[in-house]
Amino acid sequence: MTAEAIAEAPVRPVEATPGKQPMIGAPVRRREDRRLITGQGRYLDDLELPGAYEAAFVRTPHASARIRSIDTTAAARLPGVIGIWTGADLPELVKPIPPKVSNPLLRDMPRYPLPPERVHFVGEPVAVVVAESRYVAEDAVELIEVDYEVLPAVSSTTAALAPDAPRVHDELDDNVAIHVTQVAGEPEEALRTAPHRLSERFVIARGGGHSMECRGVAARYDVGTGQLTVWPSTQSPHYTRNMLAYFYGMDEDDVRVVVPRDSGGGFGPKAQFHGEDAVIPYVAMLLRHPVKWIEDRSENFVATMMERNQVHHVEVGFDDDGKLIVVKNVFEHDQGAYCAGLQVPMITLSTLPGQYRIPNIHTELIGCYTNMVPTSSVRGAGRPQAVVAMERMMDRIAEHLGLDPAEVRLRNMIRADEFPYKVGLTFRDGSPLTYDSGDFPSLTKAVLARFDYDGERERQALARSAGRLVGIGLGAYVEGCGLGPYEGARLRLTNDGTVLVTLAATPLGQGYETIYAQIASDAMGLDMEHIAVATGDTSRIPFGQGSFASRTTVTAGSATLQAGRELREKIFEVAAVLLGAPAEELCFQGDRVCAGGDPGRSVSLRDIVQVSNIGKHGITMPRGVPAGIEVTSYFSPERASYASGIHAATVEVDPDTGQIKILRYVIGHDCGNVINPLLVDGQVLGGFAHGIGNALYEESFYDDAGQPQSASYLDYSLPSAIEVPKVELVHQFTPSPLNPLGVKGAGEGGTIPVPATIANAVEDALRPFGARITSLPITPAKVFAAMTATNHR
């Protein structure tokens, strides 16, 4: 086992201009940093909106209730209160927010921005107060009396599926939102005849995105132009614009959504549309006055969408060599009070088989309504749970047969020569689920080599004989990323001779101002210093999807590459006329286009823009010079590209406290070609920290009545620098054939296999006790309970 298969540097997909330093693949330091480290960042709450009113929401304290009445009289009398609206006061907004991803099988229940009658989770807004300041608005919220008829609630999928469970939605006869099964081969028959079978039930807790900046939205209506400007903290400005145009019956051109230049993290919840997003701009229009609402952390804990909660019933059948014959996984997914979208469970459904060749697959989703805040994507988005189901069983197979878990994985892995590999299931868009590229065994071997797997096993044996509880865990995964439908880039030569790259996607800390300048630089053969990047404003580019699902480098990156190449041609077309030289002889030198490498025969970008874009009123263009140097390009991937990876961990369990210490952690990662290794490593390491939270610390706990019990950082622990251990990274670069950059997504891979890897390691550490770890996060109390359980095998 050696690391030889691992390339030293990313494969360079784009031909750079001779003599010019290639930017794609270079660890360029970020342009964003200077303003952020000097306190000059501009986040939503830093917006200058002089005199803006501020809003606060009245939220239901009951998980299921009918609103009998709302008394706002005392609150309305409070000095500084501008207006108060309940759901019943705003009938125009009583329209359902459609699920982001739907399915014909979904029994969809309406989610209203401000429900007028019936509430379904603690934290759901029932009224909005607008006041001169947030302090006063919150005072007024305290004075509003809501009379509720409190109804029984359910707060787990198990409770939701119980035969006599209270119904979350009166309109339905049970709490099942969707039930979908996908099958490949003959799983039932295979289970009947498999030489060995094992099954287990795994529970994964709810957890949140917890961007350090909470949500928020500000809006201003301009009566003169009829234009509504909205500043949301969204990952998807065009989605927000389209939703608002739908809600208000406005033309989309009259709704301008501007995401502030800096965003304090997203991680999924900010890619969703929450009720507050529709309410705030609407009251700003009613008042003809700017209104701002900044979510505080206590609201974020109860009203911002979460994810993760699933219960998996998984069964595997395999032969004497540990080769998989069949996997059957039936999982309950907690949809929350409404279906905000089916993306997460659909991803879980298709992520199950992972890196393995499995002839027979049964994967079944039971999506449940519960009386908790709706769920949607959080970094990892349904994949960590599927990986728990599959990877935990790989370890069980090894244990059952007395084989090494790494060996069992290698025996089952899809080989490098089998790509494109058809899994046998369908992807969420209905196409056959196909992995584009990868090399799972070589990355696994490289990780085992870096980890010194054999040596680590020897050290484990020594530690064990000394009475220490040391365990080793592995976790492999695939991540479908770079999803469609499309993303665009608009490149233009601006009047000062700068190339401006405008993207519809918004950055959330990934460094777009740097990455897209790198791509455009190589595409054009123009130095980065002459390229600027603008993002997040629907008035600057008409169509877009947003930053989510590790898709932007693939889609917007490819669009930037295409547009950059075309823009270069256009610029050269003009320069060819002005210099009287053929376009083939031209190249960029600094901010000039130069013929035959002779600086004496050159023209500046400023001069080109003067002729082509600015022009002279009433004067004919020079013959052959095109008007308007601008290119807009959209890239639509044919299907998802697949990133992959495998993690290896050594942990030690303290038998007295149940505390888990991570002794070593190696991450092997393959996200295709890399634009900026510094930034990709940052994505992987940041994702890893989130995975550590899911594995060991984070749980959004609700009691049986649907009351959130972890609604502050004292009860919900986010990992700090003390909890997140040092990581060793192993890179492999298998380019994707599905886009011209050869890239795949990098935003979530760091998170995905961490819970499975850590759980495998902890169970391995506890193997002397035969203890079973089946519930995440793995708290010391659970470790303790597992160690003392008497019914272990």
């Binding site: 480290i37 000097t38 350090m212 800096d262 993290g265 952390r297 940052g682 950082y713 700090s720 620098a721």
Partner: protein, 176 residues
């Protein structure tokens, strides 16, 4: 109560605060319940100080009061009366020269969205004033009072060790 142009004062007692913020004397009449974080951000428009939790855990709001790192979400503006307040805006020199920890944060990619960054910089800056930070473990302890959701902290650990070496060139350090 006098008519006041600022909404934050509506219906509430006010008091005059005199502080020195980043070396500049500031005087303002503020509601007694106004937090120091809101005062800095919304009254003085020093928006580099961020608010991530408002309950003293995340550290995004960390500033220095009389040289000590404090959580400005847990302190009232009126409590800063007569004291010196330093924020991230004052960390770089007057000529714009970055402090060693700022430079090291950028170099080691210790920030992504940047929302937590001001708080980390202020926490580390205080710790560095007390002496060198020589080991990874010590760096993690200094960083451990704040939360970042983006970076996974690895770059920050490197940045702290490097900034310590820059500030204390003769001290021993793990950083190569």
């Amino acid at each position: 109560m006098p008519e006041s142009p600022s909404g934050t004062r509506t219906g509430h007692e006010t008091q005059v605060v005199r502080t020195t913020v980043n070396g500049v004397e500031r005087e303002a009449e503020v509601a007694t319940r106004l937090t120091l974080a809101d005062f800095l951000r919304h009254e003085l428009r020093l928006t580099g100080t961020h608010v991530g939790c408002e309950h003293g855990v995340c550290g995004a709001c960390t500033v220095h009061v009389d040289g000590a790192a404090v959580r400005s979400c847990l302190m009232l503006a009126v409590q800063a009366n007569g004291r010196r307040v330093d924020t991230v805006e004052g960390l770089a020199g007057p000529d714009g020269e970055l402090a060693p920890i700022q430079e090291a944060f950028s170099k080691h990619h210790a920030l992504q969205c940047g929302f937590c960054t001001s708080g980390f910089l202020m926490s580390v800056a205080e710790a560095l004033k007390e002496g060198p930070i020589e080991t990874e473990q010590a760096a993690r302890e200094v960083l451990g009072g704040n939360i970042c959701r983006c970076t996974g902290y690895a770059g920050m650990v490197d940045a702290v060790l490097e900034a310590s070496q820059t500030s204390y060139p003769t001290a021993k350090g793990e950083h190569a």
